[in-house]
Amino acid sequence: MPSNKLLPLAEAVRRYTWDGMQYASGAALPVGSDAIVFGRELLRQQRRDLHGIFHCNTQQLNLLAGAGAATKAECGFSGLEVFGFANGLRRAVESGQLALEDYSNLAMAARLLGGAMNWPFVPATVNIGSDIQDRSAFAPDEYPSKRKIPSVTDPFSGREIGAFSPLKPDLAAIHVSLADPLGNAIMLGTEWSRFELSRAAKKVVLIADAIVDTDCMRQFPNLVRIPDIIVEAVVYWPFAAWPQSSPGLYDVDESHMKFMNKALATEQGTADYVRDFVDSYSDIDSYLDLIGRDTIAKLSDSATSFLLDPFRQWIKTPAEIAALSAENSAEVAA
């Protein structure tokens, strides 16, 4: 086991992803904290036929679906809230390029809980009685569906409820605000289902906006909801959620949210977007240039910035992170 788990983004994607895999994003949803940059890298490495597990859609799934890299997805909410419908995902669904299996937001969280517990099924008191139970995009000819959310009899009362299938994605790429080099992570803002997902997934890679010293974790162990013992790799990537937000670190980039979603509405727009905002940068610096240094300054001036204050003293500089990463690479190579 390396003394730290810092890995470059491209290397993490090379090592832990493959065509056809069940890939989960860990995010605050739908337009909050999500490692959208991990999805960009999946496209850069031309991953295909992904089966996305997204508690809710984000711009990441919107992009992966719009660009044709995801052919299956399961989610709760599939829009972009006030930003409207997710045009890339919508286009992929309407054209039949992607089969979208619908659940509710609680159902997705409960299925991850069930995967984490290794239960064979999860009691379902929601989604039953609606078309979410009766219709399956993965088995469209079975109506009403008997296998998507089958019935189970409560042995105490004898009454029937539903049963959700647990989720155990091959990989969870989880966006966190702060991680230490060992893989301990702090999320600022709602977790959504990142706690359960980190235990349900077969492997976990963290994508952190900032890297802190482990002393930070020892000062705030109750904030460390993802402990290092379940983490494979830590990727440092500032503004990893851009154009979405990361509480304490940066606000949503409203104009890029709209620009991106508009682009994903068409094939040509998507191709242009991929050319300009996926394939166009070579490292963190050029990625930040792409966002624009003025934009970065503006987005960083968030009403939530004070949430980061207690942790700033432990944040490592890019140079310190580079040194640690080099150390790690040497150890891995050895």
């Binding site: 599939s78 829009g79 969280a109 008191t125 409820i161 803002g189």
Partner: protein
């Protein structure tokens, strides 16, 4: 949604809808709001007549009121900036909503039918049929609204009043209302009692206590029974006690506009 302001009124139709929705909430209740209009309606209630409403959003944000205008989403920084607690979806949607603890939820609808069933999943031409055809238009899916519809004590549905949105039968039930009406919900043992009102841009519909069919209970100063009937895709019944909804008071409008700082409800 239609956002055309009526030039003769000191408020927009959407503002009237938000205020009418907010009036459904009572002080001290445990309430869950979705994003957009329903959040504004909820926080309006808190700002105006229900200061001790215990508000939360789906991801588990507690004790917050939006800053800087309409949040972009239920986990947006505008709602994260002054929260007292952040937990998670299992907590908000499971422990507090699906469990039956939540008194009231506000949800939106792309399409709603006469039994208050909500479709936010897709638009098909005609019935879907026995094989699950692709939708002509994919919408947003159920999100947390299904969980609210199953678990919250009562549910308020907000929807723009247009014939295509008010269907005799929704093509896809994303979130259950009263299903086929009557006691149909009991088959599933839902702990929530179902939708108590559909608040629209034109008026207020409530369910018949026995059949659970929604009937017209009230219209706004700027709308009429005729306009509502013409805008409803089913043969809408009118309550014998149908009446005009009181117009927004200056205090209500002021409170709403404090919450809707960026004027989302006043934009065309």
């Amino acid at each position: 949604m239609s956002t055309v302001a009526n030039e003769n009124l000191p408020y927009t139709r959407q503002e009237m809808m938000a205020i009418a929705t907010g009036r459904e909430l009572r002080d001290g209740e445990l309430a869950i709001f979705g994003v957009g209009l329903s959040m504004l309606a909820g926080y309006f209630a808190q700002a105006h007549h229900a200061p001790n409403i215990r508000a939360m959003t789906e991801g588990g944000v507690y004790g917050a009121t939006p800053v800087g205008g309409l949040p972009w989403g239920i986990e947006c920084n505008r709602i994260s900036a002054n929260a007292t607690s952040f937990t998670n979806a299992i907590d908000a949607l499971g422990f507090l909503v699906a469990s039956g603890r939540c008194d009231v939820g506000i949800i939106g609808a792309a399409q709603v039918d006469k039994f208050g069933n909500v479709n936010t999943t897709g638009i098909w031409e005609g019935e879907i049929g026995d094989s699950y055809r692709l939708p002509k238009t994919r919408l947003t899916g159920a999100g947390g609204a299904n969980d609210i519809a199953c678990g919250a004590g009562r549910v308020v549905i907000m929807v723009t009043h247009e014939p295509k949105r008010f269907a005799d039968k929704v093509s896809y039930i994303s979130s259950p209302g009263y299903l086929e009406g009557g006691n149909a919900r009991e088959r599933y043992g839902f702990v929530g009692k179902g939708p108590s009102a559909i608040i629209t841009t034109l008026g207020i519909l409530r369910p018949d206590p026995v059949s659970k069919e929604f009937i017209l209970e009230a219209y706004y100063a700027f709308s009429s029974i005729e306009e509502i009937l013409a805008s409803t895709g089913w043969d809408l019944k009118v309550s014998p006690t149908v009446h005009v909804v009181p117009e927004p008071t200056p205090e209500e409008l002021a409170a709403l506009r404090r919450v809707d700082a960026t004027g989302a409800l006043r934009k065309a």
